[in-house]
Subunit: 123 residues, 4 copies
Amino acid sequence: MVIRIDEYSDVPIYMQIRNQIVMGISSGELKAGEQLPTVRALALEIGINTMTVSKTYQMLKNEGYIMTDRKNGARVRQMIEQSGVISDENKNELRRIVSEARLSGVPREELVKLVDEYYLGNT
Amino acid sequence: MVIRIDEYSDVPIYMQIRNQIVMGISSGELKAGEQLPTVRALALEIGINTMTVSKTYQMLKNEGYIMTDRKNGARVRQMIEQSGVISDENKNELRRIVSEARLSGVPREELVKLVDEYYLGNT
Amino acid sequence: MVIRIDEYSDVPIYMQIRNQIVMGISSGELKAGEQLPTVRALALEIGINTMTVSKTYQMLKNEGYIMTDRKNGARVRQMIEQSGVISDENKNELRRIVSEARLSGVPREELVKLVDEYYLGNT
Amino acid sequence: MVIRIDEYSDVPIYMQIRNQIVMGISSGELKAGEQLPTVRALALEIGINTMTVSKTYQMLKNEGYIMTDRKNGARVRQMIEQSGVISDENKNELRRIVSEARLSGVPREELVKLVDEYYLGNT
DNA sequence: GTGGTCTAGACCACG
DNA sequence: GTGGTCTAGACCACG
């Protein structure tokens, strides 16, 4: 899986990596149990500090997406805990996006189409 | 329109205000041509620095949501430019939200229902 | 509130600070809404790096014990979320401690007395 | 006695095994004088490195819980030294757990009930 | 070899 | 002035 950093983005690097890995798991590009690159390898590949990648892995681990193993490195969790609900933060953010899209004249159908596309992983 | 600041949020205050105004315009709570409170009045009402509100208004003006008028202060624009497209940033953010919701076991229908709700403004 | 670091402990420094602040909040030494020292001040006082204190504050924030404010620094949360349950991790740890105490010949009453003492904050 | 490793835990494997054996002795599942599996047998059973089990046994021996015998392998000690006191480390850890439970809204009685349960071994 | 922790030092956005 | 992020570099325990 290729990680791309947008250096001009306001989103911190560790968060950009985190987001891409979460999306990779959701789309199926990263399978359950699959090994992630080591902290050092990923840092070298992207050209950033190991601390930054470490922060990402720590976060993903806290969120229950991956597990870190002293022997094997980081791996995607087999069973990801399912709360069944959308966080208030994400709801709020979704509402903001929908509002902006609506004001830009984007039809409702196009938003729904995007949701379907992202949900079903036909990226 | 009542602006509520979530002091626990990581979203900067000026951005929280901006988002609520944009959502207010989209939902119709703020009509085209409607006058916004002055920078001072809003700052006083929320209990924050005027500089913060000023930053919000500047941003809204740059984005084309409001116009400022020497005499009347800030007003919601009559015609908001309609690009008809969702920004890449928002698309990416939407994809992240959908991915997280999917991994949390939220059914696709619930996401679509939320989009409809936010789009149609039946909040 | 005085923070004491045991440099010979296996517990990471950021975790030692975190634990002491949590215990301070529980005992009432740190009141709700009370201001914590700034990252820099605490780092200087303890004689460690600001990054380490920053990690502590980040963790306390994630756990819902404190809030950080760009203007005012860190403050103890007014309302701390109450799950009403003990985490599995803490249960397991409690069981380990009780087992070791029992094997050392510590009577049950003494353990209960300690729990009462810590719970009621008569430290 | 069955040893279970939690691969998601931050507690090192050798420590997880050590803790479970100590709890097994305390609960009576492991009787005084009872033979423990050989390092190799246990390592094979759990599917880990023999070095890790070896580290566990060394620790248990140092702590006075077991004794190793050239002929018979490792056995639970007949008389486990009874200091009659709880270590400062465990006291501190207990205080942390009680503090967190209290802040989570767990009533004192529930903590005491857990202590009783673990002490009396009615797990 | 792996992730985890820590330092010294720097720059940034927010308010 | 505040917390947040990041780097370069180092050392550590675990396995």
